[in-house]
Amino acid sequence: MRYPKEVVLKDRSEAVIRPLQKDDGGMLSRFYAAIPDNNRWYMRHDVTDPLVIKKMIDSIGRGNVFSTVALVGDRIVAHASLLMRGHGSTQHVGRLRIAVLPGYRHKRLGTWVLLDLIQYAMDTGLNDLRADFVVGIEDNAIESARKLDFFKVAVIPEYVKSPRGIRYDLQIMVKRLHRTWADF
């Protein structure tokens, strides 16, 4: 795949998508520091922890994770990862995680980043993509995924807790990566 990929957002600003690089640690830390607390709460790891960032950087090129970043100038404004097991019964499934800076949401950046990872997943021969969303918190992301043919496969009721203890449903969405156009 050709990188960097140049995209123009709804507000005419321009971003560049490229794979995460070994020297991106500082920028990635600053990116996650700018993500609001109430967004970070729902992430799988504590991204304010330098060791978590180090682990992300260390995983570059190891095969089980492919990460990209979207940059505006020299600032990371989105970070996306495709996680692959590489063996066993779910080796055909890739799991997606995407974070976008608040100022760059609703500008189609998330869609471009997601589309790029879908293409990467297809290139690597994956069959399915999975993404989990918190209903009521990540509704815009659910809608974006739905537009890219992700569909709801399961909901775990009241599975997620907010910082104040309010429970939310976790929605699991899957996209099938068809190998032919017969589904069209």
Partner: protein, 211 residues
């Protein structure tokens, strides 16, 4: 483009009986035979199933119809470069800067013999192309996946490998038809004489933004 003289080459194809001829006129095409494999198959239909369609395009201003022709005057491959239809997004860039590679097709029996690469080279190597932005749109539902026994993604990669040597690169676009499927493909080749203002306008156009 059409002011050019027809150019012919028999090099680089594994079968020397095939000649690649660019800027074919409607009259020339009329004298040739059309391989019946350019037709309807079980799960695929050629973009051009009649020789007359190629003749009509060859008669258009600045169009380049490049043919791979066997010794017995049978057309076994063709490429079509022409301006986009006025209703298409890509026609908005004026004055007529963008030219579309509308088709590259090789008869099933003649595939994997590097015919398509030679057709594309002839199609895009004319000096006037340096003043143009050539582009191709790959809609996965038009691909002969059955005949090539490839998945859509493999076919997509094959197209990238075919077009890249001729200077095409993959571009992102929000053109709705291309966005219908992630395996669809949009590639472009910006000629060296295209000015910065036009390159910038091409970028806006790819994302549907009025300058």
């Amino acid at each position: 483009m059409s002011s050019s003289q027809p150019a012919e080459s028999a090099r680089d194809t594994r079968n020397a009986d095939v000649r690649i001829r660019s800027f074919c006129s409607a009259r020339e095409i009329g004298l040739l035979k059309f391989n019946p494999q350019f037709g309807a198959h079980a799960q695929y239909k050629s973009l051009y199933t009649r020789k007359e369609s190629l003749e009509q395009i060859a008669a258009q201003p600045d169009a380049n119809v490049t043919l791979a022709v066997q010794a017995d005057r049978m057309i076994v491959g063709f490429g079509v470069l022409a301006y986009p239809e006025p209703s298409e997004r890509w026609a908005q860039l004026q004055p007529q800067v963008m030219a579309e590679v509308k088709a590259i097709e090789v008869a099933r029996d003649w595939r994997s013999k590097k015919v398509a690469g030679r057709i594309l080279e002839k199609l895009t190597s004319h000096r006037s192309m340096e003043e143009k932005i050539a582009y191709m749109v790959g809609y996965s539902w038009t691909w002969d996946l059955d005949g090539t026994r490839k998945t859509a993604q493999q076919y997509r990669q094959m197209l990238i490998r075919l077009f890249e040597p001729c200077g095409f690169i993959e571009y992102q676009t929000n053109e709705p038809n291309i966005c219908l499927k992630p395996e669809n493909l949009f590639m472009g080749r910006v000629g060296q004489a295209v000015d910065e203002q036009t390159i910038q306008a091409f970028k806006w156009l790819r994302f549907g933004i009025d300058p």
